[in-house]
C-alpha cells in the first residue's frame, strides 16, 4: 500500500483482494509504504466528504487472521508519524530490509 487514503475506490478494491485471499486460507501480509502510511492514521474526519475513515476499515483484518501489518521506519519518520498514531499495531522495517521482506512472499500485489 503506497497510495494515500481517499484517492478513489482503489483501497476498497485492494481490500477485497486481501479479504478474498485470506478467506481462501492463504497467508496475507500488508506493507504500508510512503503516503500509504496515512491509510492507518487515526483521527481522520472524512465523513463530510462522503468518504470512509480508512483506518477503521482495516480493523476487519483481524477477523480474517491477517495480523502481519508492516511499515517502513523511514516512511513514518518522513511524515512525522509514530506507530502510536496508527490504528493497528505495526511491525517496522528499515528501508534497506524491505526488499528482503518482499522476496519472502510468493506473490506481491
Amino acid at each position: 500500500m503506497d497510495k494515500p487514503p481517499h484517492s478513489g475506490i482503489q483501497l476498497q478494491e485492494k481490500l477485497d483482494v486481501i479479504l478474498t485471499t485470506a478467506a481462501f486460507d492463504q497467508k496475507v501480509a500488508l506493507l504500508f509504504l510512503d503516503d500509504g502510511i496515512f491509510q492507518l492514521k487515526q483521527m481522520q474526519q472524512p465523513e463530510k466528504q462522503g468518504l470512509k475513515d480508512t483506518s477503521s476499515i482495516f480493523n476487519a483484518l483481524e477477523i480474517y487472521d491477517v495480523n502481519d501489518i508492516y511499515t517502513e521506519v523511514e516512511s513514518l519518520q518522513e511524515r512525522g508519524l509514530k506507530p502510536s498514531d496508527l490504528s493497528l499495531p505495526v511491525k517496522e522495517f528499515y528501508r534497506k530490509d524491505i526488499n528482503e521482506l518482499m522476496r519472502s512472499y510468493d506473490v506481491v500485489l
Binding site: V17, T20, Q26, V107, L109
Partner: protein
C-alpha cells in the same frame, strides 16, 4: 512458462493495457501459456462491448476479443469491479432486475477467487497498472 496476468488500468488513461496485450501476444508466440487474464479496478473498461473509438484509434476491446478467439485464452472480468462501473452481462443484469448486456465477446465475468487461483497456479504472476 505459465503466466497469470492482471490488468488494472483503463484503455484511455494509459497504455498499460496495451502493454499487457503485447506481452501476452509475445508470450503466446513463444509457446508460453497464459493461464488467465484478470481485469480488475479500471481494467474492466477493456471489456465494454459497445465502446466505439474512432477508426484511426486502437480498438482495444476488439483486439482482446480477437486474441481470446485465436488462442483460446481465459479473459475474466471481476464481478464487483464491473458492477460498480455499470458493466453487466445478461445473467447478472437479470439478477439485479436490470436490462443490460455490455460484455464483449471472449470475456467472462467472475469473482476474485479466479484471480487468487491464477496467482497461485501460474509460474509467474504479472500485474499491469
Amino acid at each position: 512458462m505459465k503466466y497469470a496476468i492482471q490488468v488494472n488500468a483503463s484503455p484511455y488513461l494509459s497504455s498499460v493495457g496495451y502493454s499487457a496485450y503485447q506481452f501476452i501476444e509475445a508470450a503466446l508466440k513463444l509457446d508460453h501459456e497464459i493461464f488467465r487474464v484478470f481485469f480488475y479496478q479500471e481494467g474492466i473498461y477493456h471489456a465494454f462491448k459497445y465502446s466505439t473509438p474512432p477508426d484511426d484509434e486502437l480498438q482495444m476491446t476488439a483486439k482482446w476479443t480477437e486474441l481470446a478467439k485465436k488462442y483460446n485464452i481465459d479473459l475474466v472480468v471481476c464481478i464487483s469491479a464491473a458492477q460498480r462501473r455499470g458493466l453487466l452481462c445478461d445473467d447478472e443484469a437479470k439478477r439485479q432486475g436490470k436490462i443490460d448486456q455490455d460484455l464483449a465477446g471472449g470475456f467472462r465475468i467472475s469473482g476474485l477467487g479466479q484471480l487468487l487461483e491464477a496467482s497461485l497456479l501460474a509460474d509467474r504472476f504479472i500485474e499491469f497498472g
